[in-house]
Symmetry: C2
Subunit: 431 residues, 2 copies
Amino acid sequence: MLERPIIQQRGFRNTADGSGATGFQLRLRNPNYRGISGSLVDGADVIVDGRAFPRDAQRWTLQGRTFTLAELRASTDVRWQLDETATLHIDHPGGLGAGVHQVEVAVRLRRPYIPEIAGPSVFRCSTTATIVPGTGTPHGLRHGVSLYSYSGDLYTSMTLEDAMADIADLGATGIEILGEGNIPGYPHPDPAWIDGWHRLLDEYGLTATNYGAWVDTAMWHDRDLTAEEGSAQLERDLRLAKLLGFTSLRPKFGVVTPELDPHPLWEPAVERVLDLAADLDIVICPEIHSPTPIKHPVTQAYLDFVERTGSDHFKLLIDTGIFQTAPVDDGHEGFEGKKRPPFLEPLAVPMGDLAEILPHVHFIQAKFFEIDDHLTDLHIPWHDIIATLHAADWQGWLSSEYEGRREPGRGRDQVRRQHALLRSLDGTARA
Amino acid sequence: MLERPIIQQRGFRNTADGSGATGFQLRLRNPNYRGISGSLVDGADVIVDGRAFPRDAQRWTLQGRTFTLAELRASTDVRWQLDETATLHIDHPGGLGAGVHQVEVAVRLRRPYIPEIAGPSVFRCSTTATIVPGTGTPHGLRHGVSLYSYSGDLYTSMTLEDAMADIADLGATGIEILGEGNIPGYPHPDPAWIDGWHRLLDEYGLTATNYGAWVDTAMWHDRDLTAEEGSAQLERDLRLAKLLGFTSLRPKFGVVTPELDPHPLWEPAVERVLDLAADLDIVICPEIHSPTPIKHPVTQAYLDFVERTGSDHFKLLIDTGIFQTAPVDDGHEGFEGKKRPPFLEPLAVPMGDLAEILPHVHFIQAKFFEIDDHLTDLHIPWHDIIATLHAADWQGWLSSEYEGRREPGRGRDQVRRQHALLRSLDGTARA
């Protein structure tokens, strides 16, 4: 699907030749109610951060062909359809800086069935849009996105392919999913869907990273799940994850205390599938999630399990919400009358604790809630986190997990901001 | 795609047995960020127009199977996936009245990974939703919808199939499209798309009605189209319309005066394709659209053309905007600084003029801008229009064309309201 505003967030990027950035490009949705011939497109006035880029100097790409405005006016065989975007190319030596820009567009279309005295029709859009810098020097960190970030948008204004296109567009290469959530027909997806999944991974250059699974220990009303039932659920998800190319699986167990202690069946249930995980080469990684810090009996129990079993297919997943330094007061879906559930309080786990545990950490969910127009995260100390990961030369996935307000499209925008921020830090935090 | 709010407009309807309406049903989107087992669904509190319908008395349909809440709690093999809806069945002898209702829902889900002291998670949604009455006694009027009504929503939150499902859901049987707008790859759609189009028509029980075409007389910058070029465009659209099963085609010609006089090439261009239209059995029907009334030289010229050519494949299309009795002050996309373009002024064409011309009218676009919570149209006198059509025993399509504000989802909601209004009038206006 296209994004509703005329200006599409996906596709806003700098353009370059061999010598560096030469300008930027913007993707636009046709704002009229009908498709039109290219000759009826009368350009678009563009203003970025207050600076006007005159329409006569722009080039337009429609249906895979690129035109100056004069060429477009004289064109006879190209169209701007409602279900296709136009890409506007704008010269601007050096390009735009990484980060959030104020972008205004006034698209001008001639409509022959409207009297000439009315002049061309003008369709305006004003928004912020984010330039994500190039991936820069390779290092151990790999960037991905969890589909959780798009909750609410997925299935209402975004398809799975839209999500994958968004992720690829910001230069990330990993995709994390929720098994019971993002797999139609779970736990028995249609083989055609599985083929399509692999085709889309290829097409967008994405790697399947982590698979979110649940063991709903309280799913029956009259009794808890047994360890056998829990391990059967894990086995089902491990096999499905393998089929889809994932290399780690996060099991979320039901909890038995307000402090989120997992149901004790976690240990026998996981132990039963450790050999299977090794056979499939999938790392099972329970999540260390606020309000549970790193120095805590739950985390220690996981480490003790590693030591006791000697398994190298059981490691930790860190949710960066544990490093939160300021409260999040946007509430949370499903929590009635609780402006700030415990996991939205600032837990502020020290970086030293992270450094200590990093050898056991397989995957990081880059949880965040809000990044402002200056690329400042209001809650999560990214500079410190990235510096800690770099210092330890930690190798692995940093997978965006947006968990802020769910206005339509907000997750997509915030993920772009987070990647602009993280990619900028990649270049500086090591220094 | 699903609608973003938890409560889906599509699917809100009365349920009946042989003796009449016994209750109503509501379709809900899973408001959580993951799919869940049916046993974790703890019901939904529903309030309609201030009246509470207790959750223990409801039945739920998930994945094609229907459960009481007790059965759902005990279920072991049914899920509520993110990309599927649940249908809630509520007993209410006599059903809900036709029209707009205030509907509130609080969906309760158990989430085992959230401490029990937090209780079930509650997800609330409050909205208006419209009950469209049954089609009632058959008569000459047939009800359809133009995809123009969904401008802005189509391709951003609605697929073509969503539009067709919406139309079928409100009991309409006709679909009108914009050729250059709703046909991907226009003017040469993929044969697979054409097959899919016919499959969807069958699946949703819809008839292809009118095909909107344009003859953009001012599409070149250095000269007007010639009559030959104009007729070539008409021929292309006629053949494409036939391929898709349409039985009429509205050509929209460029205009040459502020009063919307069409470019004079309309006459030779149409005359060249009259035989083709007869061969294809497609009626060409130019649109009588505000600010052009019925008693006007443009309309008269069309009637003179019919008389001169003797063709029965050239008739009139009436846009009900010409009957508008109050100004529309919501502006119009593309019109800069003009709060009220001429076609949004109340033209208030008398019903007598409509009655006089009805023998020449092939199709009616049921243009409207806003219908309020009491099913009152603020601008278009539907009672008078329907009474005039009934009195003349006019046979043909009344095709919804919503042209009001374009907030996301508004067109879909307004079309339901219009059909509730028109269907209610069907039963009363003849009296």
